[in-house]
């Protein structure tokens, strides 16, 4: 059991959505006809999997297949409608590089803010700030408001802070899409510093070349179900073949 990072057993998640636009008339008609204006939409259906410690796992699937919902359940952002799961370890997530930053305060203040979100205290981060600014090339911007930075600079800053947190599970949900060569190099450098075999990484992306570079295993989600789980190349080939059939 010690080498298991995540176990999910029969995870399901449903959302209630509107069938049609709500107006006072529609509400009255639905009361008279006893028709509900809402319907249940199952986004994740009976999802089970075991993810081992040290796995570099890609979550594959089309838009709306349940990847983000599955990750949000694992990080307790959503409650599961049914099923159970267990996460061994402290998850650090990056669902969007700009999340957690405050556009209207300085870059330095944002380093402390995002650091706190990732569990790094100010006195620990104080010794790292200069290094973060230098490696991200933001020394001249340190007192500028964050809104003055480009998206690429924000991505590099977010990543640089995230990888300084002590964690054994990193989750990236399409946060690494549309990145430039500089960013890939930064990401590579950070990954190399992680202890091999101890740190689990889960990624979602629509860029299969990017995922192939970093992931060794994959789960293919289709219509909220675990369609396939195995070595990356095998799962990815089957997933890509599904587009042609």
């Amino acid at each position: 059991m010690n080498n298991i990072c995540i176990t999910a057993e029969g995870l399901s998640k449903s959302f209630t959505i509107l069938k049609r636009k709500i107006t006072v008339l529609q509400v009255l008609l639905s009361l008279i006809n006893r028709n509900s204006l809402k319907q249940t939409l199952w986004v994740l259906k009976d999802m089970s999997c075991v993810i081992k410690k040290g796995d570099r796992l890609a979550l594959l699937g089309r838009n709306g297949s349940g990847k983000t919902t599955f990750l949000r359940i694992l990080t307790s952002i959503y409650d599961a409608t049914a099923g159970t799961f267990k996460v061994n370890g402290n998850a650090r997530i990056l669902f969007d590089s700009s999340v957690g930053f405050n556009a209207y305060i300085s870059v330095i203040d944002n380093i402390y803010l995002l650091g706190a979100i990732h569990g790094i205290k100010r006195d620990v981060l104080k010794n790292e700030v200069q290094n973060i600014l230098e490696t991200t090339g933001l020394v001249t911007y340190q007192h500028a408001l964050l809104k003055k930075l480009s998206m690429g600079q924000i991505q590099r800053l977010a990543l640089s802070i995230l990888f300084r947190s002590k964690s054994d599970l990193f989750i990236f949900d399409e946060a690494l899409d549309a990145v430039d060569g500089d960013f890939i190099k930064t990401f590579d450098d950070h990954l190399k510093q992680l202890p091999v075999g101890d740190t689990t990484i889960i990624m979602t992306s629509h860029d299969s070349a990017f995922l192939r570079k970093y992931c060794t295993t994959a789960i293919w989600l289709e219509d909220g179900k675990n369609r396939m789980h195995g070595p990356f190349d095998e799962v990815n080939t089957a997933y890509e073949r599904s587009f042609n059939t």
């Binding site: 959302f15 209630t16 949000r72 990080t75 307790s76 952002i77 959503y78 409650d79 998850a91 997530i93 669902f95 969007d96 999340v99 957690g100 405050n102 209207y104 305060i105 300085s106 203040d109 944002n110 402390y112 803010l113 650091g115 706190a116 979100i117 569990g119 205290k121 100010r122 949900d173």
Partner: protein, 265 residues
């Protein structure tokens, strides 16, 4: 209380969350008057103008029978404004931060708590003005400051509890924002800000005292700041009770329904 709720309650007091909350509050303060030239002056302007208008309009009607009438009004304005401003800000705390809430593991109550602290700072500034006036009238006493602290904490608890509940309701029905604006506008009149309970009928004074949670706070603050030898301990305890009950109720409702509420936004 089930396991999930206990875990949520515990997360509030972890060292991780304490550190995060401090950074969020710090960022909020940094943002607060970032583009303002006059800064703190604006905090004082609103209550000063309200005081001036209320004093001019009601001085002849109520002022003669109330000692230190300007100070009496100012304490009322500061207390009621605090409650109104905090709860109004908290209404859309969750929906405004929806994207962050759905894409991070930051405890949601942190967004609401962060909104509270800037207003506590404002309240301190406004109460400092009250104390300056009390020095001017020669009624200032140091022990009053100590007695006011638990009352301030209870008032913050009252606003926080109410804010947590309405921020959840807002996720289901945005109408609450309009309803709350009407309620808060009425609060200035159904709370003895510029009149005292003796000025209204016995029935209404009972209703306003027992059903408006701000009334005992106003009475206690005035007894502490203006008439520091005549503190009614029962009223003081009653105020603290309102604050504690709202805080506990609001927090329990919040941690019970936060996950379903966020799916509605």
């Amino acid at each position: 209380m089930n396991k999930r709720l206990t875990a949520k309650l515990k997360r509030l007091f972890t060292s991780y969350n304490r550190n995060l909350l401090i950074e969020m509050i710090y960022a909020d303060f940094k943002m607060y008057d970032r583009d303002s030239i006059l800064g703190t002056f604006w905090i004082l302007l609103n209550p000063m103008i309200t005081l001036l208008i209320m004093y001019c309009v009601f001085e002849t009607r109520f002022g003669h029978s109330i000692q230190f009438y300007p100070l009496y009004i100012l304490i009322g304005i500061a207390t009621v404004n605090f409650f109104i401003n905090v709860t109004t800000k908290m209404i859309n705390s969750i929906s405004f931060n929806r994207y962050v809430v759905l894409n991070s593991t930051i405890p949601r109550e942190n967004f609401i708590l962060t909104d509270l602290f800037v207003h506590i700072y404002k309240l301190f500034i406004e109460l400092s003005l009250c104390w300056l006036l009390s020095i001017y009238y020669g009624v200032f006493a140091w022990q009053a400051v100590l007695l006011a602290l638990p009352l301030l904490a209870a008032l913050a608890g009252l606003a926080l509890g109410a804010g947590m509940i309405i921020s959840l309701i807002y996720c289901y029905a945005m109408d609450i924002e309009h309803i709350w604006r009407i309620i808060t506008r009425l609060l200035l009149f159904v709370t003895p800000v510029f009149y005292s309970l003796e000025h209204i009928s016995h029935f209404f004074s009972k209703v306003i005292y027992w059903f408006n949670p701000l009334t005992p706070f106003l009475i206690a603050f005035r007894q502490i700041i203006i008439w520091n030898n005549s503190l009614d301990l029962v009223n003081y305890a009653y105020s603290i009770c309102w604050g504690c009950c709202f805080l506990v109720l609001g927090y329990l409702v919040f941690i019970t329904f936060e996950n379903t509420a966020i799916e509605q936004v």
